[in-house]
């Protein structure tokens, strides 16, 4: 469903000059699979996912999402993905229902179908009681629920979650993860970025460890543990980063 090949992105920065945020990254994600992007802050996760959602233009390489090219068919890509991140806010001056309804309309869903689907989503996410609450009056958990509802309102085959649990308390985070798990059961293709090991261990079928714009390792968790002879995911992660840093230091010398 997602095919990424040699995807790169570089920015101009005043302080550091031209910086490479993502350096020739390639991976594939299949339907019914959760693919985890694991990396510290600033590793290039968000940049990568933004390019997949066509908000940013790649400076090199290609990617297809749900069979559409992110450069040539950005609009088709956007209609076939659901994107959620800690940055995707909701409107303060709209009620939960209006908000999800509005985005449903943006996806050109037929009116009666939209109403049905809204009803279903609001029931499954247990949001019926906050239906008429304004965005500004909601708690963080409620907002996150609305965001999820917005993400899946058009029933997209591909879902992109960029650190969806950042800033949430344990209960809400758990609920979000449960929802993502449920979405996998529906056969969605899910890409999921985080810097929290536990989430990866619990959720992801396959993981890519990403650091300084490069993928250091990729595979399912048992595969990775076997390859690097490290049973603890966290230790594995630090080991990979350490290796990479050593390599960089070697090069610099």
């Amino acid at each position: 469903m997602i095919h990424v090949e040699q995807l790169s992105k570089s920015f101009d920065d005043l302080r550091r000059g031209s910086i490479v945020a993502l350096d020739s990254v390639s991976f594939d994600v299949k339907a019914g699979e959760i693919f985890g992007l694991l990396g510290p802050n600033g590793a290039g996760k968000t940049t990568c996912l933004r390019m997949l959602s066509t908000v940013l233009q790649p400076t090199g390489g290609t990617a297809t999402v749900a069979g559409f090219d992110v450069i040539k068919q950005p609009q088709d890509v956007r209609t076939h993905i659901g994107f959620m991140s800690c940055n995707t806010g909701i409107y303060d001056r709209m009620t939960a229902w209006e908000m999800v309804e509005y985005f449903g309309r943006l996806y050109d869903i037929e009116e009666h179908e939209l109403q049905e689907r809204l009803d279903r989503i609001f029931t499954t996410l247990q949001m019926q009681d906050i239906k008429d609450l304004l965005g500004s009056k909601m708690s963080t958990g409620m907002k996150q629920k609305v965001s999820i509802a917005r993400t899946i309102v058009h029933d997209p085959p591909v879902l992109i979650f960029d650190e969806p649990t950042t800033g949430l308390d344990v209960l809400v985070a758990r609920a979000v993860l449960k929802t993502i798990e449920a979405l996998r059961e529906e056969g969605k293709c899910i890409i999921f970025s985080t810097h929290i090991m536990r989430e990866v261990e619990k959720l992801c079928d396959r993981v890519a460890v990403i650091y300084k714009g490069k993928i250091l390792a990729m595979g399912s968790i048992p595969e990775l543990e076997e390859e690097y002879h490290e049973s603890d995911m966290e230790e594995l992660f630090f080991k990979l980063i350490q290796e990479h840093e050593d390599q960089l230091a070697m090069k610099a010398q």
Partner: protein, 803 residues
């Protein structure tokens, strides 16, 4: 739709847009009524010394007031309190009143009189000094020294005098000379008997008014005193004339009668025409301000921007949605404000009747046609503001930053509006093409002349077309902003000049960047502005004989220092390939030939174009006309003129505009955009509207040659030949007559040599062929040249269309 509802739910916006205007004006109205009720001017103090010498008839003073009949508005008499030595003399004889207030009053009176007397003595001293100064007539050293000393003393006395006056509480001091009333009586007597009167000027008894015109209070008091004494003067004169059996109209042999034909609605129109356009524009701008910030920077702040971006809506659609919302608010703010103000105004006039408010004029509504035009013109205007505000707001990172960006926009708008308010500014073809100004002036005109607005409708078309054009341009810019990732995902950046400079030098490329090119242009413009003053001063300082030479020297220096130097410095500092930046390559022979031939073809075309458009541009100011004159000044050697006006500009301007700036603008790959932008900057550099227009068109041609030949040489050649032709054209003697078949092509007109149709057609045709050839021979191999060539087509068409 969503955006609209969203904004409607924002209480702040709603308040600013709807409630505020509805409440503000009535509130202001009430406030104004209250103020006029409560407002009473404090009486000003006028001191008259020597009041005993004022004639008894006609009576000037009534107690401590002037007699009220001398005022135009009798109640004004209460605004001046007159203190004279006469009244105090009387009062001192009477037993002092027990009334405490009166004692205080009297004390103050005495104090003022004291100050007045002091002033009088100082004044006397001063007069004495002046007299002494006058008496010194010789030129000997001693006398000069004496004069110097006296002048010094006089100066001191002067400052002492004005200091004293400023310290005193007296607003106007009148010194009545001794024997004034007797003198007046004597002259009147003689006049009555038709006897000759000899009045010695020096000795003539004239009252003296002392005042300080820099002090607001004094100014008001003085104008009132003048009014009184003017009327008083007239009365004495009338009395004299009567007694001498002379007609009263003697002092005004021609006594015109003024008849005011203005009707009530015109009075109303006059008021509205001043207020309405200004308010409309300001309100349209402020109305767009807040929603734009909220929908641009505000969405970024709240993180909803990204949510919106990942929806399937196209960016263009998103921008259009936001734009329409902002526009609705802009339009409704403006209309609500105007309506509320109109109603309040009318209501107040009804309320106040003929009171003080009637001075503001009748406030009845403008006609329906005028209202219709207000709405029609408001729409493109709001569109312009909405798009501009949205573009700025999108660029801003936070709402606060958005406000920083938008305030200058508001200031510029305000400046233009105030400019339009001035009664002398009227709509003309040139103004009608300017943004904001055109709309303001057209509205002003429409509201002003409800009767014969015929001519104004002619302007309505260009004003509307250009306004729509400007707003589309602004909208395009807003969309462009929305397409840029660095704008959408701007993060907090620290701005340090040092860091920035290092970055620029570190990341330098073979060609300058877009921003650097723009910066270069701004520097050139600023420098030009800065030296303008000193240049004209230097030209003024030169004697008539050497002025042309001086002017040409300065022009050459200006070209080298202001235009070429910044471009060269920036080119060397900021790029790795100076050669590439300035296109220092040898062109192929073909381009060189085009560079030589094309100016000969374009010269007649541009001369005729300028002539046929001369009605459009405002007249040249005299200074520039003088420069133009010196170009065709036959007393100057031709080589000097050619160097100053053709060679220097050709080299310097080409280096800057077709070198650095064109390279910078073109780096992003859009050749046509680069050519257009560089020619606009090239035009703008010429300052004078006529030349701006001409230079912009030529800039297009030269830019085209530069891009396709990849060499600066044909451009320099073109520029040199073109300017030389213009100079030579001015130097053709007026007496020269075309013959031998030439008369079919050229003719001699009072304004110079003119070219006729056949020649123009030939020139136009060859020009198009050459330009087509230029783009077909293109040596730059990038794919975007297709865009460049389509430009050359449209350019060629433009040239022929305008014929």
């Amino acid at each position: 739709m969503r955006e609209l509802r969203d904004q409607m739910r924002d209480r702040r916006t709603l308040f600013m847009v709807a409630i505020l205007p509805l409440l503000l004006y009535p509130a202001m109205g009430i406030g104004m009524v209250q103020m006029t009720v409560l407002f009473s001017e404090q009486p000003r103090d006028v001191v008259i010394l020597g009041a005993n010498d004022l004639p008894d008839y006609p009576q000037l003073l009534d107690g401590d007031r002037f007699v009220s009949s001398w005022f135009l508005i009798p109640s004004d008499a209460n605004k001046l309190r007159v203190i004279t030595d006469k009244t105090t003399d009387k009062k001192s004889d009477e037993p002092v009143d027990d009334d405490q207030a009166d004692v205080v009053e009297n004390k103050k009176r005495q104090e003022l009189l004291e100050q007045a007397r002091e002033l009088e003595t100082v004044f006397g001293k001063q007069k004495e000094l002046l007299n002494q100064l006058r008496q010194i007539k010789g030129e000997s050293k001693k006398e000069q020294a004496a004069r110097q000393r006296l002048k010094q003393e006089l100066k001191e006395a002067n400052s002492e005098f004005s200091g004293l006056f400023a310290e005193s509480q007296i607003q106007v001091l009148i010194l009545v000379p001794k024997g004034l009333s007797k003198e007046i009586a004597r002259v009147s007597e003689k006049l009555a008997q038709h006897e000759p009167i000899t009045i010695d000027r020096a000795e003539s008894l004239r009252p003296i008014y002392l005042r300080n015109s820099a002090d607001e209070k004094t100014r008001i008091a003085f104008s009132q005193v003048q009014e009184v004494l003017g009327a008083y003067n007239k009365d004495i004169l009338r009395d004299r004339l009567n007694r001498a059996n002379l007609p009263e109209s003697l002092p005004n042999p021609i006594n015109p009668i003024v008849i005011d034909l203005a009707q009530d609605e015109q009075h109303a129109a006059n008021l509205w025409s001043k207020l309405f356009p200004a308010l409309l524009i300001i309100m349209a701008a402020t109305g767009a301000f807040y929603p734009a910030i909220d929908l641009g920077a505000g969405e970024k702040e709240r993180g909803t921007m990204e949510t919106l971006l990942i929806s399937p809506a196209k960016r263009t659609e998103i921008v259009l949605g936001k734009f329409l919302t902002v526009m609705v608010f802009s339009v409704s703010t403006a209309l609500l404000n105007l309506a509320s103000m109109g109603f309040t105004g009318r209501h107040m006039v009804n309320l106040a009747g003929s009171g003080a408010l009637s001075r503001f004029g009748d406030m009845s509504f403008p006609s329906f046609t005028a209202l219709f035009w207000i709405v029609v013109l408001l729409i493109p205007l709001s569109a312009l503001f909405s798009a501009l505000c949205l573009a700025f707001a999108t660029f801003a990172r936070s709402s606060k930053e958005g406000q920083y960006y938008l305030t200058p926009l508001l200031m510029v708008t305000l400046g233009l509006t105030v400019f339009c308010l001035s009664p002398a500014v009227e709509i003309n073809p040139f103004y009608s093409l300017m943004p904001i100004v055109g709309v303001a002036l057209l509205l002003k005109g429409m509201l002003l002349s409800s009767v014969n607005a015929g001519i104004l409708y002619v302007y309505a078309i260009p004003v509307l077309v250009t306004s729509i054009g400007y707003s589309l341009l602004a909208l395009w810019w807003a969309i462009e902003q929305f397409q840029r990732e660095d704008v959408l995902f701007r993060e907090a950046e620290r701005f340090e000049v040092g860091l920035w400079l290092r970055h620029m030098i570190r990341t330098k490329d073979s060609l300058p960047t877009f921003a650097e090119a723009g910066f270069c242009f701004v520097i050139i413009m600023l420098l030009q502005f800065a030296v303008m003053n000193s240049m004209s001063a230097a030209i003024q300082a030169a004697t008539d004989a050497e002025r042309p030479t001086r002017m040409m020297q300065l022009l050459m220096i200006q070209q080298l220092a202001i235009i070429a130097t910044p471009a060269l410095i920036m080119g060397i500092m900021l790029t790795t390939s100076v050669r590439k930046t300035f296109r220092l390559y040898l062109p192929s022979i073909g381009f060189l030939i085009v560079g030589i031939v094309l100016p000969f073809l374009l010269h007649p075309l541009s001369i005729e174009l300028a002539q046929s458009l001369s009605w459009f541009f405002p007249k040249l100011p005299e200074g520039t006309a003088a420069v133009m004159q010196s170009m065709s000044d036959p007393t100057q050697p031709i080589w000097l003129i050619l160097t100053a006006f053709a060679l220097a500009p050709a080299v310097c301007e080409e280096l800057a505009f077709r070198g650095f700036i064109l390279s910078g603008f073109g780096r992003r790959g859009r050749a046509w955009l680069a050519i257009i932008l560089s020619s606009i900057t090239f035009g703008a550099m010429h300052m004078i509207p006529q030349q701006v227009f001409n230079a912009t068109l030529l800039g297009l041609v030269i830019g085209l040659i530069a891009v396709h030949s990849r060499s600066l040489l044909p451009c320099v050649v073109f520029h040199f030949i073109y300017n030389s032709l213009a100079i030579l054209h001015g130097r053709i003697p007026k007496t020269w007559l075309p013959e031998n078949g030439l008369e079919h092509f050229v003719s001699m007109q009072p304004e110079g040599l003119r070219y006729s149709w056949p020649l123009l057609l030939i020139c136009g045709a060859i020009t198009i062929v050459l330009l087509l050839w230029v783009q077909s021979q293109s040596q730059s191999k990038n794919a975007l040249d297709a865009a460049g060539s389509s430009n050359s087509d449209s350019f060629g068409r433009r040239l022929t269309d305008s014929k």
